[in-house]
């Protein structure tokens, strides 16, 4: 085959052509997920600490995400909720958004948009800020929110 002048044209197979973004994402994430399944960030030095916690001594809304994911991947839902309830509750929405991205790439149509009304997002924002404050108060019932 003669080479045509100019930039080479990379033609990917059909499936990969539509889904190269999620494919790259899955490729990059799979070793991280595999490491999270077998190693618990709570007692393994493999995973980075939270920079906000390191700098301020306070827990951020994301503290406990990796430990929670480890528990979730090993089937311990209650333990995961105790480490970061916001992460567990947000996962279905994240998964739905990922599916919507797949649908857009595959069929050219998004899945129906959810939580369209702005009040839902303001509610989420209030919830996250409340969670952020409450999990740093070391008093028994609400200390459950801390990671």
């Amino acid at each position: 085959m003669k080479e045509i002048a100019g930039a080479p044209q990379w033609v990917l197979p059909g499936w990969l052509h539509n889904h190269w973004k999620p494919a790259m994402l899955a490729l990059a994430l799979s070793p991280c997920v595999a490491a999270l399944v077998v190693r618990d960030p709570a007692d393994s030095g493999l995973f980075p600490p939270c920079p906000f916690l390191t700098l301020t001594g306070l827990q951020c809304p994301g503290c406990g995400t990796l430990r929670g994911l480890h528990q979730l991947l090993n089937g311990h839902l209650i333990a995961a909720l105790g480490l970061n309830i916001v992460m567990v509750l947000a996962l279905p929405f994240i998964a739905y958004s990922f599916l919507s991205m797949l649908a857009l790439n595959g069929t050219g149509r998004r899945l129906p948009t959810v939580f369209v009304h702005p009040a839902w997002i303001w509610l989420l924002l209030g919830g996250i800020i409340l969670f952020w404050v409450l999990r740093n108060i070391p008093v028994y019932p609400i200390s459950w929110l801390a990671a």
Partner: protein
């Protein structure tokens, strides 16, 4: 012939999914919540565009059905928030809410501008998070090298 279903106002649109009549400036259907724009029916215009080819030579359409979906990057904002990239993720959630608010009030240009800010904030948060991870891998490698040197 029956004309009771025909809208008298040419700006009236209908939700493609549930058939609800929606305001011309609305960003989403008030009944089923679907973002307005993906194949919206405008009976008055639809009749015009199929009658001839004059629209090809005429001025470009000002009504673009695809334009009424604006990404608010909420999923990305939540991701950078829970994967601990400092409070920037929360600011991105504020902008996500503003995107939907502006869309609901018909401010398409404002929604696009806010959407771009939300996207930028998500990328900055992601970049900071990635930098922390790269730094951490560097620390691990140095730790391993020192341990290997001391042990060997």
């Amino acid at each position: 012939m029956s004309t009771e279903q025909q809208p008298s106002d040419p700006s009236t649109r209908f939700c493609r999914d549930c058939g609800e009549r929606v305001q011309a400036e609305a960003g989403f259907c008030s009944r089923c919540g679907r973002a307005i724009g993906e194949g919206q029916d405008r009976p008055a215009d639809a009749a015009e565009t199929t009658t001839g080819s004059q629209h090809q030579a005429g001025p470009p359409f000002t009504y673009n059905p695809v334009q009424t979906y604006v990404n608010n990057y909420l999923a990305q904002a939540i991701l950078v928030t829970i994967f601990c990239c400092l409070p920037l993720g929360i600011v991105a959630i504020v902008f996500a809410a503003q995107v939907n608010g502006k869309l609901a009030s018909g401010d398409y240009a404002g929604a696009v501008s806010t959407s771009n800010t939300a996207k930028l904030l998500c990328w900055i948060s992601f970049g900071i998070g990635l930098a922390v991870i790269v730094l951490w891998i560097g620390v691990l490698c140095v730790g391993l090298a020192v341990a290997g040197w001391a042990g060997g």
